[in-house]
Symmetry: C2
């Protein structure tokens, strides 16, 4: 099945019983400050506190009964791991999660709370991949990659589908880009619904591989990520980049100070908890990387998983 | 017009174009922890960040054209002042707000941002009342008291009306009590819809006048409030107490540590910003002041106006 609008609509039907219909928030003061109309799709209020519930659930519920019985596997320390464990439990199958041994106790507990079966490995990319391959060889589980898997991309695209149901007339959509799972799904939905609907990816300047890759016309791997937005410290995936080249209108970058300021403004104005990565698109507006005057802008607030003891405006990091 | 269910339904029709339909959030982990099913009505996501937008808007839009033309007045330093200023601006009339001269710059700016005309006074109850009386004598404005005004109580009751539209089968409702505006409206709606729907007020032990008054059968004024829940440092109003005696099933009290812990749990689980006063009802559950096992419980999260530089789990206050 090609990854197109129809596939994403099918994903939405598939996952609808298992995910939340998240609200869309607006704010008159934020609109006045930028001159546009902003519509925030609150995926921080999604199950597991992030849009990742969508893609993982679509992947798990797309499996045949035979495949599903052997379980699913991934290597991740973040929201995808929790989302995959949750989806697997909903289907009644095992989820094998490979996590680096230096993962925080909170992240390990979180995956455990959804019933994930954790295998710890050395904190290197090579160890992760080898350990995951071994687990798959032993169990016959299906690998569900956090962003290059087409079922995952299709699931992530359902957030924009819902936003467009609630707010049909958008002029553009801003979406953060790390590995590019959300971006790929979002861009396919946007251009599938209307080629005139602009799609811009936003990333931290300190993890600016997507912007460099988009300009170069080929993937320029991220050698060193220096950003507080920990969800975006990833090189864009190959299938994700292919979608980006075809469907994305531009890639914007934002500063670290801009991300923290945007995050705080969103907390104070919308009264919701948005993680650093989730504040990145709004920072593109406050840092005037894009002119939204008179335009209706959809913004996907990707997640709300934050350590309340280490808030960036208290930590002295900036 | 008596303050009854019909009046509150009429208030809802009146204010509907001017307020938000706030979402109702649920959380499987919080349900598992208490053994009940909790439905959180998110008035922290309401206009001005609090349910106060409902009552103030109903009061302003209940005025005759002649009354309205002379404006409205109140003495308040908190959410009611901002809510009244906003409602007045929506109707195109002046709002005269008397605030103590030691109000925080943030609160003054907030009222100004909604177009309120601020008169500062000495920080005593007597000065507030005298100044407000003078402003009213000079302008002919209508006084809109933050909680004893029946139009305000009717507006506050609309939060539960909406919650019951979304979740018709509730067994009980938990509502914080300060002056008792929200509590009065909530109790009238609850008992008007179903006498079997339990209504419990919750307040901090350090501002426990409502519990003492409820037990004594007459208002026992709060001599000294010692609580972090700054929205609840108020003696219950006389008409509010009358409604409480008729319609409320009990008053629960919670500890300061319980309030802070509940607030943090709500932030981490629901990914939304809840102010100290708003966390008080949930603290009654975590502190086992009421058994919710197997019951469907409506909880009104009253507001989200928090100073992010002075979070209680960082300040060392406890």
């Amino acid at each position: 099945m090609p990854l197109d609008l129809a596939a994403i609509r099918a994903a939405h039907e598939r996952i609808r019983p298992h995910i939340r219909r998240t609200p869309v928030l607006t704010n008159a003061a934020l609109d006045a400050a930028c001159g546009g109309r902003l519509f925030f799709k609150c995926e921080n209020l999604q199950e597991v506190g992030a849009f990742k519930a969508r893609g993982a659930t679509n992947a798990v519920f797309s499996l045949s009964a035979t495949e599903a019985a052997r379980g699913v596997a991934t290597h991740s320390s973040g929201n995808h791991a929790a989302a995959l464990a949750r989806a697997a439990r909903l289907r009644g199958i095992p989820a094998y999660i490979v996590m680096p041994s230096n993962s925080s106790p909170a992240k390990i507990r979180n995956v455990e709370s959804y019933g994930g079966r954790i295998t710890l490995c050395a904190p290197t990319q090579q160890a992760r991949e080898e350990t995951c391959a071994r687990v798959i060889a032993e169990t016959g589980a299906t690998m569900i990659h956090p962003f290059t898997d087409e079922r995952v991309m299709a699931g992530q695209g359902t957030a924009l589908l819902e936003l467009l149901e609630d707010v049909p007339q958008l002029d553009l959509v801003l979406c953060p880009v790390g590995g590019g799972g959300l971006l790929a799904g979002t861009a396919i939905v946007a251009k599938g619904v209307s080629p005139a609907l602009g799609v811009f990816a936003v990333e931290p300047l300190g993890a600016g591989d997507a912007a460099r890759s988009f300009e170069a016309g080929h993937i320029v791997p991220l050698e060193h990520a220096d950003t507080i937005a920990d969800g975006l410290r990833t090189t864009v995936g190959a299938p994700n980049f292919a979608v980006m080249q075809r469907h994305v209108d531009g890639v914007l970058t934002v500063s670290e100070a801009g991300i923290v300021a945007a995050m705080r403004t969103l907390w104070e104005s919308l009264k919701i908890i948005v993680e650093t990565s989730g504040a990145v698109p709004y920072a593109a507006i406050t840092e005037r990387q894009i002119d939204v005057t008179g335009r209706r802008v959809g913004i996907i607030l990707t997640g709300g998983n934050v350590d309340l003891d280490a808030l960036p405006w208290k930590s002295g990091k900036l």
